[in-house]
Symmetry: C2
């Protein structure tokens, strides 16, 4: 057989044991906090019926959805003209399933399909991979995990306040000490467009002011002027864009600016309620900041909007979310309000790696390696091996027959912190040498003491 070195499809990844330990650390932390706040895990299938996904993500999204070829004799009803037609038409004939593109649409489908079994408010989380036929590039993959928590069927703003607590707890637990949860409200953005008298330009407006960080005030102004705003509009917008001060101060200033907009005032009131809830809670490390330039998924969110950034290194947003008023309408179930957040696991991974925040020790790895000189040492060591495992310690015995040097290399490569070397001396005396692979320190212990010594 030709031995072309095998590989994975572009944009997709293998995860090595060392990477899995770190990824599990992140996912387990996120899941444990989701659960602490009453969110329950669900899983949906990798494949959905194409009808469930198509048309939900815009034309670009439709193009990026991976389609699965029908199984069996999919060509049996083939018509020659199919090939003269467009991709999309042929695809409909030979494919009726597609891979999950995000976790939100499958969740909406789940809620509608199972609405009679679900107790509302339904707080669910989901940690599963999604697939997008995007052009792969640094930090962008064709297969990646999403970590979403959403609540549907509750309009209480306590949910929004708790999302801030969840971000705070997860990221603090992961060792981050300086990060900002930016918050805005879609209704405030609508109010701003309204008082300028250009409600129809809300998208252009938010797209422009969203770029303040990157292109500065001058850039924003010139973009606004090309999009149909007058100099007078821009003059009225400027104090909003440049809003400064503490959160309460910003909201007070906004109240004056938006006093003529009912929608705008409602958005401010919502943020005030969320801050009211937060006063009863203690945040660990997060800074919460009202940011009027924040605009996420504008066609989608209807209330509060979140975005999370670390201040310890340069990195795009590591989380985001918001409230939407009509998630399940696309599947015929109207009027179910919801709110949700997600964590960007790949970016969080890169941040923890860069800041060296991954813990040294892990209960996912082997703690003790027993290294026997020969087969009689191996036999001697078997009860010790079981004793360690019975004590709940991850332990391995390197099968007899290899040089000790090779066995120690194995321990080093697997990052095993303790090694027990057993030769004929140990077999005779029953006393064992325990070596700490990090410090090089050795100590003589009895077999019975090993479990305690390595705990």
């Amino acid at each position: 057989m030709a031995s072309v070195k095998p590989s994975v499809p572009k944009g997709m990844r293998d995860f090595s044991p060392a990477e899995m330990v770190k990824r599990n650390y992140i996912f387990d932390t996120i899941k444990s906090v989701f659960r602490k706040f009453g969110y329950q895990q669900i899983e949906t299938p990798t494949m959905e019926n194409s009808a469930t996904l198509m048309g939900k993500y815009g034309d670009e999204g439709d193009r990026l959805i991976f389609k699965v070829l029908n199984s069996g004799d999919y060509l049996s009803k083939a018509q020659p003209e199919w090939l003269a037609t467009t991709n999309a038409k042929l695809t409909n004939h030979i494919s009726e399933k597609a891979l999950r593109y995000d976790l939100t649409v499958p969740f909406a489908r789940y809620v509608v399909q199972h609405q009679n079994e679900i107790t509302f408010p339904f707080k669910r989380f989901q940690v599963q991979p999604v697939w997008r036929a995007d052009r792969p590039q640094k930090g962008r993959y064709r297969e990646f995990y999403q970590c979403d928590a959403d609540v549907v069927g509750s309009n209480s703003l306590l949910n929004e306040a708790e999302f801030i607590l969840i971000y705070d707890e997860v990221l603090s637990k992961l060792g981050l000490t300086d990060f900002t949860i930016k918050i805005n409200n879609r209704k405030i953005l609508a109010g701003i467009a309204e008082i300028i008298g250009k409600p129809e330009l809300i998208v252009d407006m938010t797209v422009a002011i969203d770029k303040l960080d990157k292109i500065g005030l001058e850039g924003v102004v010139s973009e606004l002027l090309t999009k149909g705003f007058t100099q007078e509009d821009v003059d009225r917008l400027q104090p909003v864009i440049l809003l400064q001060g503490a959160n309460a101060e910003k909201l007070e200033k906004l109240k004056i600016i938006l006093s003529a907009s009912e929608t705008g005032l409602k958005g401010i009131a919502e943020l005030e309620t969320i801050f009211g809830y937060l006063q009863s809670f203690t945040l660990l490390k997060a800074t919460v900041e009202v940011d009027i330039t924040l605009a996420r998924g504008l066609n989608y969110y209807t209330g509060a909007i979140f975005e999370v950034k670390t201040n310890e290194t340069v990195m795009g947003s590591i989380g985001g979310g918001g409230r939407y008023d009509d998630l399940t309408g696309m599947f015929g179930l109207k009027g179910l309000t919801g709110a949700g957040i997600s964590f960007g696991a790949d970016r969080i991974y890169d941040v923890l790696e860069e800041l060296k925040l991954f813990p040294e020790a892990s209960n996912q790895t082997t703690r003790v390696l027993i290294c026997p000189f020969d087969i009689s040492a191996e036999t001697f060591a078997l009860p010790l091996l079981q004793q360690l495992r019975t004590a709940g310690i991850n332990a391995e015995l390197y099968p007899a027959g290899a040089k000790i040097k090779k066995q120690l290399d194995y321990a080093n490569n697997k990052n095993i912190p303790y090694v027990v070397v057993i030769g004929s001396d140990e077999v005779q005396s029953g006393e064992i040498t325990l070596k700490n692979m990090q410090t090089g320190e050795q100590q003589k212990v009895s077999a019975a003491q090993v479990s305690e010594a390595v705990k």
Copy 2:
């Protein structure tokens, strides 16, 4: 929009919160034991290049592999004659990726691709879904999880002995008390065919004697006679098929029967070595039984073969595995020996469900629900909510505004064991009523005592 009730593709499943708690319980137990024995987790992509998968599972397997349509303009080079051709030929033109069909071939690909980064012996486990375009039926799905542990690069039979320990520990931890790990050896089967003088009929022979349980001795004999065995052959086979007694006894009898077959004797010696290892260990609940009729994946395994059955209910095998001498040869890396086992998670789920072995309590679910009568009770309750969570207790507050009845229904539906109801009395006195939802018992406690009371 038309509101056709949405559904999932046939043979695929949503997993509800209650199902996820149970599935995680099984997966977490399996993973923790794999780790305890030094196995490390990896993950491979959902999609592999078709060339990696095709031809590895036989013609039937090739047919059952889900193929993914090329993204972008896959028809740009379309030739009209494609449609006049076979499915397989067209597929090659429009699809170059396919979904993982099992965990073994991707693992082999992984080992070859990453051979220079891997420390051998490489003990890896993998818990991921696989996809097969099989006809769905009861207990057979088109998407299901596999849980595999394999070691490559070690020919020590300690690995085989440890697989028995792993089965024993996992299934005992899950609450099973009566299960049998059947063990055989491919070399013994080869030896039997050899001494009958029909080595070329080994497959027909093992396929026939594998059915002893189902069709009885008479059935096996008549099948053998139609497959090219003579009555004399059958007479020589009969004592082997009907081998009785304790394991050591069976092996002694086999030694006599197979005394002329070097291969057969080697198989017996291997089993004896495995049993030798087991003498140094204490099994929790497992019975280990030499079963000469056991034949799994004959074209694949070369040494020991395992299969696990529960004796507490009627169910097919809940686990299996064995040693193979050439896993990575298909990708050009020859001579790397390996051995592995897998757990049948869906079947184990059904067994635990039937025997009511799933634990009542879980740290995956909410432990306390706080039920406020009104908004001032809600405000009063927020510090209590945070206090519980800080103590590591999964807790929720039902947002104010719903009737207490509805809140208690929510607790019942989510199986929340403790409820705290807070009204104006509680706000004034600071004393709280904690209700145990299982017993109905109520107790008055201070806010500070709630964490202790529900732990």
